[in-house]
């Protein structure tokens, strides 16, 4: 796939380094469990105004959980808008929102290319749904706003050679980070919002060991647990107590519905915590 507008690597495909020890015996879960309480989220660092040339910008960092090789989530977001729409676009009585999410090539264990793949476009659609509820759209007719998020470091555990389950759970953590950082950047850009929207993730996990019953944890790191049964990512407006985007994936028996409502409740709790950081950061920026 030689992209002639970029410098491509050698014609033959290159192989990521394979480490010796995980080639032989499997990855032993050496006391990797979760050291945080079930309902506390990881510490977050949020700062607005990192890109002066954009109309609004923000940088968010989840601190990594200290285990070797586990990297925290690092996101940078820029907002361009409200700006005029291209000539060809039809009249719209409200602001046209377009969100782009892109993993940096060095962000994940498996090196990602420069072209956006379907999972990133999917995240973009989720983010648009989450933010469209929060923005007061009809105050900016005939204008557009571009929200661009670059994920500088995805929170994947580099040491585990075999990924437990597919990487959707990392996507959910990334989406919750994207929602929070985009909301901060929108506030920095001065676009009217009904409320600051923050993202939170809650998951039903099963830890190592035979007897452990599945429990609900907040802001999960997939590699901490033996198996993730289901997770949900919530975009939540705290003062209005409303949910603008709900994304659940997993395998819950429909019979006991309490499990699902508990999961959603924990997700909202996670986004309330994240929102506190968001409000405090915006407070600093204005004072």
């Amino acid at each position: 796939m030689a992209d002639r507008r970029r410098i491509n690597g050698p014609p033959g495909s290159t192989i990521p380094p394979v480490f010796e020890d995980d080639a032989g015996q499997p990855e032993i879960m050496n006391g990797k469990g979760r050291d945080r309480a079930p309902n506390t989220i990881r510490k977050m660092f949020l700062k607005t105004g990192v890109t002066p040339s954009a109309s609004g910008s923000a940088y968010l960092e989840f601190e990594d959980s200290g285990k070797s090789g586990v990297s925290g989530l690092k996101l940078s977001c820029t907002v361009h808008g409200p700006r005029s729409l291209p000539r060809s676009s039809p009249f719209s009585p409200h602001i046209v929102l377009s969100a782009h999410i892109k993993y940096a090539p060095f962000a994940t264990k498996q090196r990602r290319g420069y072209l956006r793949d379907p999972s990133e476009r999917d995240l973009g659609t989720h983010l648009e749904t989450a933010l469209r509820g929060a923005i007061i759209a009809d105050r900016w007719p005939k204008s557009g706003v571009d929200i661009i998020i670059s994920i500088i470091e995805g929170d994947q555990d580099r040491e585990t050679s075999k990924s437990q389950g597919d990487e959707t759970w990392d996507m959910m953590n990334a989406l919750s980070g994207c929602i929070t950082v985009a909301s901060a950047a929108l506030a920095d850009a001065g676009i009217d919002c009904v409320d600051t929207v923050a993202g939170g993730v809650a998951a039903l996990v099963q830890d190592a060991g035979e007897d452990s019953t599945p429990r609900i944890v907040v802001d999960p790191i997939p590699s901490d647990h033996e198996k993730v049964l289901g997770a949900c990512c919530i975009a939540y407006l705290p003062t209005r107590d409303e949910v603008t985007n709900l994304w659940f994936k997993g395998d819950l028996p429909a019979s006991d519905a309490g499990l699902y409502t508990q999961l959603v409740e924990n997700g909202m709790q996670a986004s309330r915590n994240a929102n506190r950081v968001l409000v405090e950061c915006l407070g600093e920026a204005t004072s």
Partner: protein
């Protein structure tokens, strides 16, 4: 060491373009076509001046990032010599097609290369100036460019004008300098490992090649025996090519 053949050029080779030129020197043959001043696209329209658009097509394969870099260098240099202020909101389009490059089995013949090719730049430069002249685009001055490589062979450092790809590969440093007809330095691209003195020496050599004073008829013999004129006299070549073209066009007079 390829012998330094004298450059040859032909003007008006393409029937449909406003102006065209074919120039071959040191193993490179380039054909250029100029369409000037024509209506510009909306996005690169400039209110006060013409937009000079350069397109470089390599000998083989489709252009890569290297061609974009060559185009941006040529565009910024040619915008200085074309009177862009006379044609606001218009476009001067220069298309350069590399006919063939000196083949050389030492050098890796990979199709899409990303690093800057210094040896071809003078040929592209001369061809575009000739094509602009043939198209009658008003210009403030003409310009000529040359490439110089500093090759260290068994200890001694010698500067080679119009180096072959083999020279470029083993050279300590490669330089391309372009001068306008008012003897001003228009373009200086150098790469490698050199000191300020070496660059000064290269500057002298290049200036001599590009801006040798045009010999008047009687002063012809006096120049010939000068010891360090080891490159073609480009300005003279440019002038004589134009003179032949004008003479052949007006033969009916």
């Amino acid at each position: 060491m390829t012998v330094t053949t004298a450059p040859e050029a032909a003007l008006g080779v393409l029937p449909r373009a406003d102006g065209s030129a074919k120039y071959s020197h040191a193993g490179y043959t380039v054909t250029a076509s100029v369409n000037g001043p024509i209506e510009a696209q909306r996005r690169d329209e400039h209110p006060y001046e013409a937009h000079v658009d350069v397109i470089v097509r390599p000998a083989a394969g489709v252009g890569g990032t290297r061609e974009r870099h060559l185009e941006s260098i040529l565009q910024s240099s040619l915008t200085q010599i074309v009177l862009v202020k006379n044609f606001p909101r218009s476009l001067v389009q220069i298309v350069l097609q590399v006919e063939d490059a000196p083949e050389n089995d030492y050098v890796n013949t990979k199709l899409v290369q990303a690093s800057l090719n210094f040896a071809i730049m003078p040929a592209l430069f001369q061809t575009s100036v000739l094509a602009l002249l043939s198209a009658g685009v008003p210009m403030r001055a003409t310009a000529t460019a040359t490439a110089v490589a500093i090759v260290s062979r068994d200890g001694t450092k010698t500067s080679v004008v119009d180096p072959s790809p083999r020279d470029v590969e083993i050279a300590r440093s490669v330089h391309v300098l372009a001068f306008t007809s008012h003897d001003e330095l228009l373009l200086a691209e150098s790469e490698g490992d050199f000191t300020v003195q070496e660059w000064n020496h290269v500057y002298e050599t290049a200036k001599d090649v590009c801006c040798r004073p045009v010999p008047t008829k009687e002063g012809m013999e006096m120049i010939l025996d000068d010891e360090h004129t080891n490159g073609p006299d480009l300005r003279h070549f440019l002038r004589s090519t134009m003179e032949n073209k004008v003479a052949s066009d007006l033969h009916w007079k």
